[in-house]
Symmetry: C2
Subunit: 387 residues, 2 copies
């Protein structure tokens, strides 16, 4: 297959590009380094530096013989996207090209606007680059479980059958996200669904939970191929943040009551899911939505697992509740379906003590680089009204 990875320099984009190349596909990876720029601007650099996309691709080729074709470009620029799609005529495009941080989107007007514009326009251009240059291309879009929020009913995989006053219809599952970042993914879904039903695009929209992990079979060839690893409050997800806190010898900071429950998955399972989606495309005119996670945990349960993993490595890890900087329910019902990817063949890698322990080992190699100041929450969802 001919595959374009949008956001190919990212935490998920780079491992995805390597995986498809290692499987023998022709792979292009495009990125404008927006996440690197935002991390720099907010003092949120990752734990260790990564080579740029051109250099990563060269290293990958020299180490494995496989090819990822790097493209430095902006997916919000229509000319860039139209010419790339015309050149490649992709069978599959994997769309990760979005500002990925909820706290970043909540810092104020400028970061909110940048999030809205970047994410919507990248999606809009992806739709139109396919329509105009590769209409049979399968779009694999990364959404988020956060689109659904925490409703009081079971979360189905994308769709809901509704009975109302004796009549029935089927709708997109209602969405109510907890940050502007997550809300842009709701808007993405609305846009994709409109163009799918009108122009018969093929789209897979994956509602993904937070991902953890740093090791993949391709990244493990050479340390310079590792995905970027953020541990700060803005770009780091909770598992990575806890692991760094454990290594730094500071208590794991649980936000509020710690009952917030989400679906998580290992980076290797993300790669499996993307491959399964690509190998099983939907029909034209179908918006296929799958919930992409393997296990649900509360924040308190995650913290306990990291304590246990620390113990296995001789680290004594404490837990400390801090005021929740976000507006979210700390105790809520949560029962999301997630069988569609299992049915396609996903073999989950559970979050074992050993998996977390190996991540701790990796983090410890870079322990001297940890900047403690950037772990505690710096962005609040509770706005000081300035009137």
């Amino acid at each position: 297959m001919r595959i374009i990875v949008l956001g190919g320099d990212g935490y998920l984009g780079w491992p995805t590009a390597m995986r498809f190349a290692a499987r023998g596909h022709e792979v292009w990876a495009i990125d404008n380094y927006l996440r690197r720029q935002m991390a720099l601007e907010t003092c949120s650099e990752p734990l260790f530096p990564s080579p740029n996309l051109i250099d990563r691709a060269a290293i990958f080729h020299s180490v494995t013989g496989h090819t990822v074709r790097p493209v430095v470009g902006d997916c919000t620029d229509p000319a860039t996207m139209f010419s790339l799609f015309a050149e490649v005529r992709p069978n599959v495009v994997v769309h990760y090209a979005e500002q990925p941080s909820a706290p970043y989107s909540m810092m104020g007007f400028d970061t909110a606007r940048r999030t809205l514009r970047n994410n919507l326009e990248a999606t809009f251009n992806t739709i139109w680059a396919c329509l105009e240059r590769a209409p049979d291309c399968h779009i694999i879009k990364l959404g988020t479980m956060g689109e659904y929020g925490t409703p009081n009913i079971d979360i189905e995989e994308g769709w809901l059958d509704v009975s109302h006053k004796g009549r029935k219809d089927r709708f997109l599952f209602p969405r109510a996200a907890g940050s502007l970042y997550h809300t842009t993914k709701v808007l993405d879904t609305d846009l994709l669904w409109f163009y799918v039903r009108l122009y018969r695009l093929r789209v897979t929209d994956l509602m993904q939970g937070p991902v953890y992990g740093i090791s993949t079979s391709e990244a493990d060839h050479d340390r310079r191929l590792m995905p970027n690893f953020h541990y700060d409050d803005i770009f780091g997800t909770v598992v990575n943040r806890f692991l760094v806190q454990a290594v730094a010898g500071i208590p794991l900071t649980v936000y509020g009551g710690g009952g917030q429950t989400r679906g998580y998955l290992n980076l290797n399972d993300t790669l499996q899911c993307i491959e399964l989606a690509a190998d099983n495309p939907p029909q034209p005119g179908e918006l296929r939505i799958m919930n992409q996670f393997t296990e649900t945990f509360s924040v308190n349960e995650l913290a306990e697992r990291v304590v246990e993993a620390g113990r296995s490595r001789g680290l004594k890890v404490a837990i400390r509740a801090v005021p929740n900087p976000r507006q979210e329910k700390e105790h809520h019902y949560y029962n999301p379906a997630h069988s569609a990817l299992i049915d396609l063949g996903l073999q989950p890698n559970p979050m074992t003590t050993e998996v977390l322990g190996e991540m701790l080992d990796r983090v410890r190699e870079h322990a001297d680089r940890i900047v403690v100041d950037r772990i505690l929450p710096r962005v609040s969802w509770n706005r000081e009204v300035s009137a």
Copy 2:
């Protein structure tokens, strides 16, 4: 009250600004003439020219003694919006500042992109100009009944109580619009709902049906104060188009089977609804959604009513079905609720033969200006795939 009308040069914006000024409120009207520009670009000028916003405001003042303060500016420019809101500190903002044409949004990539960017960014800036400069301001946003599409269940006013597997929750009523223009209003609703629940804005989102009419008590003072009147396939709504066809002596062009049913209202009822919303603001943190129309008709029923009105004026009017340029259901269930505005005091002006007859009289005064070529559909929803 201090009131800003965004899109104050438009078909609804200008009559709204005059109405509030005539009621003694302080009124600012901002517009960048985008609709005039798009109409010019697509050969869709209105039936008669209107003075520009500055001149209209001067004429209105000279004729009535009331004041509308005109501002020529772009609501997608944050600096313009922030400084306007800082200066005015509005109690109410009425947001009409959107590209209003479904066919325009379906012409191709460029018009779709312009629609998406203009509409979303105007809404986003409205939200943030309120948050930063007038946080207690009541936002009255014009949505559309088209956000809901034509579901197989009763359409409620904005919200739906759902029971699922023995549990219950309340959600935004599911939306599935039939054009990109209508879809941008779905995205607007999602954005507003996010910021309402997070930052406790006060928002009324009015799901309005197609509006008809040209006469209001303020506009009737002087012909130069009339709202603009589009009759073409791109900016004209179906009732206005039929009336012009009746006067031009060409058959009323019913799209497809003509069973498409929508909720309609008179321009004077739009003005009543906006006043009622402004006089009855929601609480902080409330997104109040009301369905704004007074009667439902199929396209075939509308055509019959125009035939009857023509007969009352001695015009012999024919009806002709043409291939439907849109993708929409031509026979469908349609039962939308619309009691919330009645409960606030709306007194509907029904679409009588006399009301349509008076509109025919106005159109006949300008019969020599009718350009027949621009009435038939020029934009198709059915895309030629270019691959």
